[in-house]
């Protein structure tokens, strides 16, 4: 199976949107990492280096959006947080359509260590009114969903990952994804595994493992955490009666948080959250770290069994 990093999809999307003259790109000295460098190379007159100064970048993007431009501003996920209050007061509050991309999200980022591994970005951006929050799972879905932002009337935050993972979608499948709608990548009725980002591939493998043990799992790619697809979650919960979330992010406030809130209000269902358990990361190879922090196929399988065992007959 072909592998690629979701950040590559962001870079490709910027290039494919370039025909729209409203598209402008802002960088904070990490264009080579976020892949906005691809746009810069082709369209320097619409690319803006903001230096290592994220707070300024947020409001420059807001000012541009106020005049009808469609700014795409990127840096590491963790460094977008440097300008969080700027995003809150300068972008989300006036509902200026700025699209942020935070690359290198999660423990999976690897050897850079804990300072670079944002495990809270999805949680914090999800709390802001007007914001759309996405975390696609592969390069093709990242490309497709980023391109969808061209006609999106709200500001957004998209997390991408540094490292290559398995490609989940074909070009055609990715093109059919819609912001705010769950993507069901496998159907089963015994348990549902809702995953985002690099954990979608792990969830699919976990479902195959469970299938060999006679457990039929649904797998959902929750590429959009906000707006949240409450209706689809409710129908899945009704059908499966046991839910697992899997994310390379704190179990507090991100996908696990969003699913908890929705289930509690709409259809209380046993839920097990696979994710980073309220601790910071460290240096290591991605595979080593995923094992250390409990983000592997076997962690998902175990969580699925626990959720099923909690299901009332």
């Amino acid at each position: 199976m072909t592998s690629a990093a979701s950040r590559d999809g962001y870079g490709s999307a910027l290039l494919e949107m370039a025909d729209d003259e409203r598209v402008v790109v802002l960088e904070a000295d990490l264009g080579k990492s976020t892949k906005s460098c691809l746009f810069r190379a082709e369209y320097p007159e619409r690319s803006f280096s903001m230096g290592i100064a994220e707070q300024n970048m947020m409001l420059v993007a807001a000012g541009m959006a106020s005049t009808g431009k469609i700014p795409f501003a990127s840096t590491f996920a963790i460094f977008t947080e440097r300008g969080f209050e700027q995003v809150r007061n300068g972008i989300a509050r006036p509902n200026l359509v700025v699209h942020l991309c935070g690359s290198h999200g999660g423990i999976h980022t690897g050897t850079d260590g804990s300072s670079a591994q944002s495990i809270e970005d999805l949680a914090i951006y999800r709390t802001l009114p007007n914001m759309t929050v996405m975390h696609p799972c592969d390069d093709l879905s990242t490309k497709s969903l980023t391109k969808s932002l061209l006609n999106h009337q709200r500001p957004s935050y998209t997390r991408t990952a540094r490292n290559k993972t398995k490609r989940i979608y074909t070009e055609e499948q990715a093109a059919s994804l819609e912001i705010g709608k769950f993507s069901i990548v496998r159907e089963g009725s015994d348990v549902a595994i809702l995953a985002c980002g690099v954990m979608v591939a792990e969830a699919i493998d976990a479902a195959e493992f469970l299938a060999n043990q006679g457990v039929d799992a649904t797998v959902v790619d929750v590429h959009t955490l906000k707006p949240f697809d409450h209706g689809c979650l409710k129908s899945i919960a009704e059908k499966c009666g046991a839910i697992v979330t899997a994310e390379d992010h704190s179990i507090i406030g991100g996908l696990g948080g969003a699913v908890s809130e929705s289930l509690a209000s709409n259809h209380p269902t046993p839920l097990e959250r696979v994710g980073v358990k309220d601790e910071f990361g460290m240096s290591g190879q991605p595979a080593e770290l995923m094992k250390h922090y409990g983000l592997t196929v076997s962690d998902i399988v175990d969580a699925a069994k626990r959720a099923i065992s909690r299901r009332t007959a």
């Binding site: 280096s49 409001l59 420059v60 009808g68 209050e85 007061n89």
Partner: protein, 279 residues
């Protein structure tokens, strides 16, 4: 005054502006008194600057306050909202009734300037340090489009303690911004105390100059100096910053240079005295 559909500027005389400023000062004090809250000191220090801009240079339209080609006023020190509302009222963007909604539930005039609520407000402030970056974004965008939009960014001197101001100051020079001028309302007082007690700012002119800006220092209450500085900044290869020395609370004796009136309403007796002094 400016009622056309296209943004225009009807230039008023310096004497006209002095009269308008005095009217605005009264409205500022009345707004703060009615709300029993707000920021009179920094509103009274910045009002002459705002009146100067609206009366001498801004191409704006009361009929189309969101006209895409209008000049922008970015009041980064967004707590000085009474000054903004009084000048928007004086120049026909909002009504006297609107002024009565300052800090009132669901009112047109929010506690801090907010572009979603008030016609003629271009920037949502309230959190210091962000306006210069926003103005830079507007100006870079206009430059790309070949539009002759001029942005005026108004900062406080205390606000210049925010790091983002200097991030933006660097970026404006790096990107060779022309159609944007910063005016700093140097009133020497911030929320808790005098600026130099809270954080010594040193030589502000030297700081801006060191970042590559053209600097002019003026008396921020002298309408002729304000007017001349506006013309200077529009004809000088910039970016330009005007350091306007002002008096916090200007025009009301007991508020002048008094940190207590950064964010406090006058009591009944003080209000009567203020109205008498501003008559």
């Amino acid at each position: 005054m400016m009622t056309g559909a296209e943004p225009t500027c009807e230039e008023l005389t310096v004497d006209d502006l002095v009269v308008i400023s005095k009217d605005c000062r009264r409205e500022i004090v009345k707004m703060v008194k009615r709300a029993n809250a707000g920021h009179p000191g920094g509103s009274l220090s910045v009002i002459d600057i705002l009146v100067g801009l609206y009366g001498r240079t801004l191409r704006v339209s009361t009929n189309k306050p969101k006209h895409p080609d209008r000049d922008r006023v970015i009041l980064s020190k967004g707590h000085a909202s009474p000054a903004m509302y009084s000048v928007l009222h004086a120049f026909g963007f909002i009504s006297e009734t609107d002024l009565h909604t300052y800090r009132v539930y669901n009112g047109v005039c929010q506690g801090h300037v907010d572009s979603k609520w008030t016609p003629g407000v271009d920037f949502s402030g309230g959190s210091l340090g962000m306006g210069l970056s926003f103005g830079l974004g507007v100006t870079l965008s206009a430059k790309m489009d070949g539009k002759d939009i001029f942005s005026w960014v108004i900062l406080g001197d205390g606000e210049c303690q925010e790091g983002e101001i200097w991030e933006a100051a660097m970026a404006a020079v790096h990107h060779k911004v022309e159609n944007m001028t910063v005016i700093v309302d140097v009133n020497g007082i911030q929320n808790d105390n005098f600026v130099d007690q809270q954080m010594v700012m040193g030589d502000l002119a030297a700081k801006w100059a060191a970042f590559g800006w053209k600097v002019k220092e003026i008396d921020g209450h002298d309408m002729l100096e304000i007017s001349t500085a506006i013309d200077w900044s529009k004809t000088t290869v910039g970016p330009c910053v005007i350091l306007a020395r002002t008096i916090k609370g200007k025009g009301v004796s007991f508020m002048e240079n008094n940190p207590a009136f950064h964010g406090k309403a006058p009591d009944d007796e003080e209000f009567e005295q203020a109205m008498g002094e501003l008559a």
